[in-house]
């Protein structure tokens, strides 16, 4: 029997996962700040176990357009990870990455998408390498996949992964803000066996 049951999570485990989210998001923010060469503040992440019927509503309304960058994880920790930006934040981030003075407007060019994908890769990579350093576990990530669509549709992908093991999802929400507001959300979706491995590696 796995030690971790997402539907009835022990508060000690929950605190540990919360702290992991904190450290990971902190490193990810630092990576983004370096990439953009600007100061970025991070709010204390909110970590919540939500029923997946509420997963989307934590972020925004189901039909709001978001950009999702999704990576598959392999190694000691298997599963997937998503970095989510609201459309307006993604536009601001793309403008910043492409060094544009004026906003480019309402559509993403192929270059914008590629830049966002790479930013997602760097951010997620920083998140994962801190988790890896902390636990001494090997985590390798796939290339980043990007999709722009309704939040409900994008979030159905991690929700389905959570759905295989329980009725709840672990959401780590990090609001990062630069001169202009860019807010993003991380969703880490380890397979159930990987939770045990993480906790075991931390001596729990």
């Amino acid at each position: 029997m796995p030690k971790v049951d997402l539907d009835n999570m022990d508060s000690v485990y929950f605190d540990v996962l919360k702290e992991i989210g904190n450290i990971g998001a902190g490193n990810a923010t630092t990576a983004l700040a370096k990439l953009l060469n600007m100061r970025i503040d991070m709010k204390i992440p909110k970590v919540a176990m939500t029923g997946f019927d509420q997963l989307t509503s934590v972020v925004c309304s189901e039909e709001e357009i978001v950009v999702g960058i999704y990576l598959l994880l392999e190694g000691d920790v298997a599963g997937s990870m998503m970095f989510l930006l609201k459309e307006a934040s993604a536009h601001r981030l793309a403008d910043q990455l492409m060094g544009r003075e004026k906003p480019a407007g309402n559509t993403f060019s192929a270059m914008d998408l590629s830049a966002l994908q790479e930013a997602g890769n760097i951010i997620a990579g920083a998140y994962l390498s801190s988790l890896s350093a902390l636990t001494n576990l090997t985590i390798t990530a796939s290339v980043p996949y990007i999709s722009i669509d309704m939040a409900g549709a994008i979030l159905s992908v991690p929700a389905i992964e959570f759905g295989k093991t329980g009725d709840k999802a672990l959401l780590i929400e990090t609001c990062i803000s630069a001169k202009m507001m860019i807010s993003g959300y991380f969703i880490l979706i380890p397979e159930l066996a990987s939770y045990d491995r993480i906790l075991e590696a931390l001596g729990l």
């Binding site: 997946f52 019927d53 189901e62 598959l72 996949y145 999709s147 409900g152 159905s156 389905i160 009725d167």
Partner: protein, 161 residues
Amino acid sequence: MNEMIKVGMADYKVCPYPEAITTLGLGSCVGIALYDPVSRVAGLAHVMLPDSTKISNNRNKAKFADTGITGLVEAMVESGAVKRRLVAKIAGGAQMFAFSRQSDMMKIGLRNVEATKMKLRELGIAVLAEDIGDNYGRTIEFHSASGELKVKSVGRPPKSI
């Protein structure tokens, strides 16, 4: 008209005539609208996974195509629908991310659609129309007064099937 009845992820609800019922932002999940054209009782399920027997934690019936459809049919019959008159319209089952490697996990949308069709066939419910697959999300509305299923997507004209 009153506000539409809303069905969440891993959920199903019955929709009495002449109301309308909706589910927002279907991705790889499948929306199954069932309808009895005589009593005009409708119902909508939003299922996430194909098969309840493959997963140990399967208490939530509405999560799976097999048990979700059975559950919705039972609930509709209780509300006055007749099982042999039921017809279906389905939407969703997209692949939201263009994965380079194809494994079962990534083809979940397709598997959800297959499982849905298999269950409907088993129950003798005909699929009258479908808008499935591809790589984009869908919001659907089923109108019990007309039997119409409206499909809305980002950057695409709305359809009625």
